[in-house]
């Protein structure tokens, strides 16, 4: 295809230098990426040789894990349920606490710029500290068990959902909000009749998504003594009962898969 356009573009005096500059940029970016990976491999002492050398041990462990020992199967169902309870309570409490915070943190409806920024910083802090760290703190404070797990999930979920709520609220259509303002509604009415009805489906979908993740987190929390199936897993591992551990792992796998499936279906209907 040699139209007049092709010819005129070749005579463009800017074209060649630009192409060189683009190529130079690609090479630079490529080098930078390689450097970052080299740095990470060096820092973690990552080595394929070590991995291969470890394979016999891994196989050894695997043979000691099968077949699963299901004699105490029914004894694990209670802790598994407790993990779900931890996630459910923690997520629900977080979902409620995050509503006012999310409203304040949303730039389009926040009552004041300073309060808005302060709330955003707070939410960031709650979110930046992992559940595991919160749980360590609360296990130290109130002792072993599911309760510190609930509190840990609650605090983290408040941070995550507050942020996600504020983003949902910032994405609403401002025009109905202006219309409701125009009829003389006060701030609370504005939220209830124009902001929340628009943002709620997305917010709910985030709550369910976060519940999904919190079931996995609650499992991990058990490993540090905050109740549930994770606690059983840690016990079995500590007593070298690898075959029982396999049973626990399978229960966890089934539980997480089921929850992900159900919540995925619910979310698909919401949005």
């Amino acid at each position: 295809m040699r139209g007049p356009l092709a010819r005129s573009s070749r005579s463009d005096p800017w074209e060649e230098p630009l192409q060189w500059r683009a190529a130079g940029r690609v090479v630079l970016i490529g080098l930078a990426v390689i450097a970052v990976y080299a740095w990470s491999v060096q820092g973690t002492r990552f080595s394929l040789v070590e991995l291969v050398r470890g394979l016999p041990d891994l196989w050894n462990l695997f043979t000691r894990m099968v077949p699963p020992d299901a004699r105490r199967f029914s004894e694990y169902l209670g802790p598994a349920a407790q993990t779900i309870q931890i996630a459910l309570l923690g997520t629900s409490m977080g979902a409620l606490a995050a509503v006012p915070l999310g409203l304040i943190a949303a730039r389009n409806v926040s009552p004041h710029q300073v309060i808005c920024s302060a709330t955003r910083v707070t939410l960031n802090a709650l979110r930046a500290i992992p559940e595991l760290v919160w749980a360590l703190l609360f296990v130290a404070a109130v002792g072993l068990g599911a309760f510190p797990g609930v509190i840990a999930i609650f605090i983290h979920a408040t941070g995550v959902l507050g942020k996600l709520y504020s983003e949902s609220i910032e994405s609403i259509d401002p025009r109905p909000v202006e219309a409701v303002r125009a009829v003389g509604a006060d701030r609370t009415q504005l939220m209830l009749f124009s902001v929340l009805p628009q943002a709620l489906p997305l917010m709910l979908s985030y709550v369910i998504y976060s519940f999904e993740g919190n079931v996995r987190s609650a499992t991990v929390l058990g490993l540090i003594g905050a109740g549930g199936i994770g606690f059983e897993m840690q016990q079995a591992m500590r007593l070298f009962k690898y075959q029982e551990m396999t049973t626990i792992l399978l229960i966890t796998l089934a539980m997480v898969t089921l929850i992900d499936y159900v919540s995925g279906r619910v979310r698909a209907r919401l949005v």
Partner: protein, 269 residues
């Protein structure tokens, strides 16, 4: 009824939308603001409703100052002023009935509204409003399932539920086809004639303005360039409002003038 004095509005980007607009609207008037795009029509409407702050000047509604009022007084005044938007601005996920009930928010006790609950008299008022625009049978449907014309009628019902003494309509029919435009403007005219509600609206065509308004206010570059009864709107007046017709073709007939107006709007968009 409505008085504005030397209303000026400069936006943060430096645009001077209003450059000293002084108007008096008498009770029961149906006045139409005409002007090419960017003449400040929407800004004027929004300043009157207190949705945006004028940079300078004042608005009085029924002798009460809007611009210098506190937030509570402003809300009270807004409760008695209906505003119709070009894009209807319904809350799409809520039912038609709830959207109309929103018109009652300025009157109801805040505690009840928190639970989305309204008293019997409020519901009756909203239902009557919906009946009068012919959409009572859609009350339970979600607002975003309705067509554009129906949505604008729900918006009119929302205004009716406010039992307003002043209606402001900002390009109420610009998003609708001509037949629906007539239906919507017909409802506004009826509210004006039967209930004596003072109405200030802006329209995108001269032809519609001639058919529905008593009084024409021409805006050009943020200033009132024409103000008179509808029969005084002649060729010269249109040139004042939309600029010399020669630029966009001949404007001997009214329709041509109207087209000149819309043509400019299209270009500006």
């Amino acid at each position: 009824m409505l008085r504005t004095e030397d209303l000026r509005k400069r936006f943060p980007d430096g645009t001077e939308a209003l450059c000293g607009v002084s108007l008096v609207l008498r009770a029961g008037e149906m006045a139409c603001v005409l002007g090419s795009s960017g003449s400040g029509k929407s800004t004027l409407m929004r300043c009157v409703a207190g949705l945006i702050e004028p940079t300078h000047g004042a608005v009085w509604i029924n002798g009460r100052p809007m611009t210098s009022a506190g937030e509570r007084e402003r809300r009270r005044l807004r409760g008695h002023m209906g505003f119709i938007f070009q894009q209807f601005n319904l809350v799409g996920r809520l039912s038609v009935m709830t959207n109309v009930l929103i018109g009652r928010l300025g009157r109801v006790s805040p505690a009840w509204a928190i639970l989305h609950q309204f008293g019997r008299s409020d519901r009756a008022c909203a239902y009557r409003a919906l009946e009068s625009v012919g959409l009572a049978e859609k009350a339970r449907q979600r607002a975003d399932t309705l067509s554009g014309g129906q949505q604008q009628r729900v918006a009119i019902a929302r205004v009716l539920a406010q039992e307003p003494f002043l209606v402001l309509a900002d390009e109420p029919v610009s998003s609708l086809d001509p037949r629906l435009a007539d239906s919507v403007l017909g409802h506004l005219l009826r509210i004006n004639r039967e209930d004596g509600v003072t109405t200030l609206l802006n329209l995108h065509t001269v032809e519609l303005a001639r058919r529905y308004a008593d009084r024409i206010i021409g805006l050009g570059q943020g200033q009132v360039v024409f103000d008179g009864p509808v029969h005084a709107l002649d060729h010269d007046a249109l040139e004042l409002i939309y600029g010399p017709a020669g630029e966009t073709g001949s404007a001997d007939e009214d329709e041509e003038g109207a087209r000149a107006g819309t043509a400019r709007e299209v270009v500006a968009v």
